[in-house]
Symmetry: C2
Subunit: 393 residues, 2 copies
């Protein structure tokens, strides 16, 4: 009895991505599995300087759960002014990364048994958060334009207890696709029509290769249907665990109470570091470095895949972000390939890890292009092409 | 429909303590409400130096959810060697403060409708975490020796779905009492007899005025019935949000999966800072400073209360920690007094905030002695004595 795990946690498995990462921490592995940034542009010196300047009794004492006020204000300002995210009915909550926004929104909105609709495949950290609250997850098929909205509407029509539509509309994780603006507007109309909140998870949206940022769904949200989850993990550094939500005040206040029960508040030193970083440094120039680097790396990866991969393997061509997605021909499994590749010391994440169903036969796998060096991309894609040939022959 | 809050969050109110803190952030207030450390011993210069030394790409990158391995090891070593906490069947999880241990343990063990038994009154952050998972909370009366074990046994006998016994056995929050060693052993026997896990929340146990540390319940736990929640909030600084659990491996692995869904991992820079702090500095000498300071402050506070308080007011005499507890005579409410005191710019927390029931007539209130200066203690206790006289007359 004492050893019985709660129902909500019974079916939760460790994130396959994080387990692959542990397996492949060995630096001799070629890391196509990570969701990390390329570390070469981490602003180490600036962060050192800022950390030194903010480390004092006030940053070491307890803070309010909402977050350090100047950071909340500069987040509202930057994302409001630059991207039109948030209006006077919204407020900002500082969180321990974007993951915590997903968790808090689910905790506050989704009863056990309620339905969450999301792209299939999608971010495994979100799937596990939904499962941890007993949500019924229904995956919506995706195309190169992201979530298929006809299928979404059918699911909204068929289920009367949908509490959340979860989407990563820009440079989706894991498949790298982006939802066109007209689809975003239609998605928002559907949310209003069926009176369901949208959780827009956009940690990558600023990482557009050409610097052209697709407007967020939240930027069209005049009626308070969108919770925007943002992150500094992809623009400053993930290890500091600082993210934010911009969402209608009624839900922000509930999420704040929920956050009190999780971690009281986000690390006080790094809330101030991020504030001063946004205030004192040219964050857009910093992001541009990532944009250009990832454009170059993904272009190299894709050209090698064009050249070397078996023609029966299809893949996406992202315009930004960190990931692309490949599909093996029907009847072949990304899980088998990923296991085979461990012997060749190339780490990829099987598509099954992102599947909303327990689907060992998922034909997909995810490749990250932000972490590996150009040299590793060349060697790794060659090894992967060989591995695919061996598996498909 | 879209605006409907989940059932689990419907009855959750913002922590009264944190709301009082917001109200009384005005520095002209005398702060008897906080749960903070006295900031005068924060190791600001050491933390600056350490933060500078660990801020590099590896601390800024994603980490494993379990926590930075050298920190896990040094925690196991320090608390194992010094206090006998944990054995080879246990493992360490690094968390965002002690609060997250409470949250994760509840998430992994307690189904909606299951019973959690705890001291009444108790820490409001724990009560809210239990409520957020739909637990049925049953408060066990406390004496000067902590939780009344006869009442606990009766509750264990009367309820067949008790999943957790939550206790703060040393310098309890809010009432400052300490459970004697023989009671700890009996509590552990009861847990075994009724096969129920104990969550031992001990953020203050090292803050004994005389340096004599009461052995933790966990130190007697040979059969894996205790989840120990520890914190560096009271020994290093709360704003960094670093805590830990030492618990049986089967539950630690589940809590790790749950943590993945909340914040992925704890701040990477400060996991390393705490590691190096424990490794390179004399943490015991640092803690001794707090012990001596709080001994002095609580002694001053108690002597003034002895002198000035209406004799119908009773109060506890803690041997460590941060808090003491007062009770007004029957028929008077701590909530009314706390509101009255706001006019006099003295912040105290009404007992109702810590009550396991919705009990506006709770006669108690909590006083913190670690934060106010000696001068403020003198002025504040005088004002409080006057406020009590006005209320009781």
């Amino acid at each position: 009895m004492s050893k019985a795990i709660s129902n909500r946690m019974e079916n939760l498995k460790p994130s396959a991505v994080r387990e692959v990462l542990k397996l492949t921490a060995d630096p001799s592995f070629i890391a196509f599995a990570a969701g990390n940034l390329s570390a070469e542009f981490f602003p180490v010196e600036q962060l050192k300087k800022l950390s030194d300047s903010v480390l004092e009794t006030s940053s070491l004492q307890y803070s309010v759960t909402e977050g350090y006020e100047p950071l909340r204000e500069i987040v509202a300002l930057r994302y409001g002014k630059k991207y039109g995210i948030g209006n006077s009915d919204d407020s900002v909550l500082i969180t321990a990364g974007g993951q915590q926004v997903i968790n808090l929104a689910t905790q506050c909105l989704v009863n056990s048994g309620d339905v969450v609709l999301c792209e299939n495949p999608t971010f495994v950290g979100a799937l596990n958060a939904f499962r941890a609250y007993g949500a019924k997850i229904i995956g919506i098929p995706t195309t190169n334009e992201g979530m298929c909205l006809d299928a979404l509407e059918a699911a909204l029509e068929a289920n009367d207890n949908v509490k959340l539509i979860y989407t990563i509309p820009t440079f989706q994780n894991p498949n790298g696709t982006t939802m066109p603006v007209e689809n975003r507007k239609r998605l928002l109309e559907l949310a209003k029509k069926y009176d369901v909140m949208i959780l827009e998870d956009s940690p990558y949206f600023e990482l557009a290769f050409d610097g052209e940022i697709t407007p967020t769904i939240k930027s069209f949200d005049t009626d308070g249907y969108v919770i925007f989850a943002g992150s500094f993990s992809k623009t400053i550094a993930p290890g500091i665990r600082v993210g934010f939500s911009i969402a209608p005040k009624w839900i922000t206040s509930r999420m704040t109470i929920a956050k009190q029960t999780q971690d009281v508040h986000t690390n006080g030193v790094f809330m101030r570091v991020v504030y001063k970083y946004l205030r004192d440094f040219n964050v857009d120039a910093h992001i541009q470095q990532y944009q250009q680097l990832y454009a170059k790396k993904s272009s190299l990866m894709l050209s090698l895949m064009d050249e070397l991969f078996d023609k029966r393997v299809s893949f996406t061509r992202p315009k930004g972000g960190l990931f692309l997605w490949c599909d093996l021909p029907k009847g072949y499994s990304g899980t088998v390939l990923a296991n085979n590749m461990l012997e060749k010391k190339v780490a990829i994440v099987p598509g099954a890890a992102f599947d909303t169903e327990d689907n060992i036969n998922n034909t997909g796998f995810r490749l990250n292009f932000s972490v590996p060096t150009e040299e590793n991309i060349k060697t790794g894609i060659k090894l992967l092409a060989d591995g695919i040939d061996e598996y498909l022959k």
